[in-house]
Subunit: 326 residues, 2 copies
């Protein structure tokens, strides 16, 4: 069986997305969908699906409908999340609700969710019930994660555990499901599919924690966006919650005061918060927990008995996700 | 094979909906879902599914997951439509976006859409690909119908044909799909499933046209809501479009002027528009077209060779939908 490179699989994903039948009437419904799907993005999730399918000896072509379904689903959640988060920009372009309006972003998003299921159901009929299970459970969990994220904005005290649950649901489970769905299509056993899911879940949590870390301590040139953004909008990230836990009473009160608006200048605010983070060992704690989730993920992966060369494309993708790091 | 009464099937639907696992955390996500699903409503669509399954000799129990899926889907569309239409009330209670907020109505709605698919996939695995096809195509069409409805608000001239397309997509296809999905589960042939779909589609169009008619000319006691609502909000219904077509140039201009705000008093406005409708034979035209879609539907039904007693529950449901009429 021929093995495709990550680049080749990436091309397969791009082609499949370019061929989606989303250039129809009514244009008020489909234009925002084409706009969104053509904006690119890393296509990380469908790539994980194809890579996983190939890893277990399957033909990645057969995983393409499911991979496309996952990418459309992911983009649908962005359309609705951008309304909820009032985000004006996404991938450097205006978000749908800004470019059009809230109603358009709602309805075009709904349509994308249905189109995603339409793609999924083009998978092997025998596998469809199992794939539907993973896909639907994941879709529900992603909504739950988004709800926790909304709730946390107005929750006085969020525990580190609750925070991890939130990012697990909002971010990690979709990465895990992307791998598991590919694995099922590729012919993995139930046990193997479970291991690859656990791998994806833990790597996904590490990935999101790394994003928190880089938003505070990243190199702006490699991070790709301005650092300090989370602090400016008072986001209760892992770093913030860890600082509250580690700090003295005085430090805790200072940090909470800053997050309540005691410093109006953004640059000064970011500098002051980073200083509190550093003084309270938040950098080391966060690096440690990222490493711990990464290692937990790798342990699950090791339980799958595959030759190292079969794992190469997956490891390449994962290091691309996690190596922007330190 | 035992045949259940419509009342018994209705009880089955109520029980299934009461048992839905939607009382979970995070409560900010699931409370609006329980609130919506517990509000009742006629449960017409899932009933059509069970009735169709039974009609073709199937056990309606087996159609229950799909029937529930359709009801959840329908309620999801209401959550999002109420945001789009800025509707404060639904079934006499506050709409979700009013009682909570827009973000909640978006996210709880999305979750309902996923839960609907989760229910659907509890259907017979062998039938699942076919059921998914009908369900997903219908979901997309319902979104298209809603988009056309939005578009028509700002479209200068909407043709009668375009209007029928809109109500077909927004309302009729879901009734048709409810029947078709039940028929498939009940063991109907592809041809029979096609006939029952055509029946539902035409009856659905008749049903929506009747709603337009009753909103203008209905008896408020039997119609159940205040008449004239469509006219007050300048809705381009079949009656309005037909009046434009039938009226003289002067009548047409008068009607357009009224819909542009020339009469501010609502009661006077409704009276004046009704007068134009009556003078231009709109009552008869609308009754005629309702009858024509009804007859078209009945012709499709006749192509299915079933004993009259097998059709009884369906005819009872349909006459309940259409007999409030004249």
């Amino acid at each position: 069986m021929q093995s495709y490179s990550v680049e080749h699989l990436q091309q397969m994903v791009s082609n499949a997305i370019a061929l989606l039948p989303v250039y129809k009437e009514p244009s008020g419904l489909y234009e925002p969908i084409s706009y969104t799907m053509n904006q690119g993005g890393k296509r990380l999730r469908p790539l994980l699906t194809l890579v996983a399918a190939q890893m277990f000896g399957g033909n990645p072509e057969r995983a393409l409908p499911a991979a496309t379904a996952i990418e459309i689903f992911h983009n649908f959640t962005l359309l609705h999340d951008d309304i909820i988060d009032q985000a004006p920009l996404r991938r450097g372009a205006e978000t749908v609700y800004k470019k059009w309006n809230i109603n358009t972003a709602i309805l075009s998003g709904d349509t994308m969710f249905a189109i995603a299921y339409g793609q999924l159901s083009a998978s092997d009929p025998e596998l469809l019930p199992g794939l539907m299970d993973v896909f639907t459970r994941t879709a529900i969990e992603v909504c739950e994660g988004q709800q926790y994220d909304i709730d946390f904005e107005t929750t006085e005290s969020v525990s580190l555990e609750e925070y991890i649950t939130m990012i697990r649901l909002k971010t990690a489970v979709l990465l895990a499901a992307s791998l598991k769905i590919g694995a099922i299509i590729g012919g993995a056993s139930t046990e193997e599919a479970g291991h690859i899911y656990a791998f994806g879940e833990n790597i996904g949590i590490a990935f999101q924690l790394q994003d928190d870390y880089l938003d505070a301590f990243g190199d702006e040139r490699t991070f790709g966006k301005k650092t300090g953004g989370d602090i400016v909008v008072n986001k209760k990230t892992y770093l913030y919650l860890k600082a509250l836990q580690n700090a003295s009473e005085a430090g805790k009160h200072e940090l909470q005061a800053i997050y309540s608006g005691s410093i109006s200048d953004p640059a000064e605010k970011v500098g002051r918060v980073l200083d509190i983070f550093v003084r309270n060992g938040v950098q080391e704690s966060t690096r440690d927990i990222i490493a711990s989730y990464y290692n937990k993920g790798m342990e699950s992966l090791k339980k799958i008995r595959l030759k190292p060369e079969a794992l190469e494309p997956l490891m390449k993708l994962i290091s691309g996700m996690l190596d922007r790091k330190f």
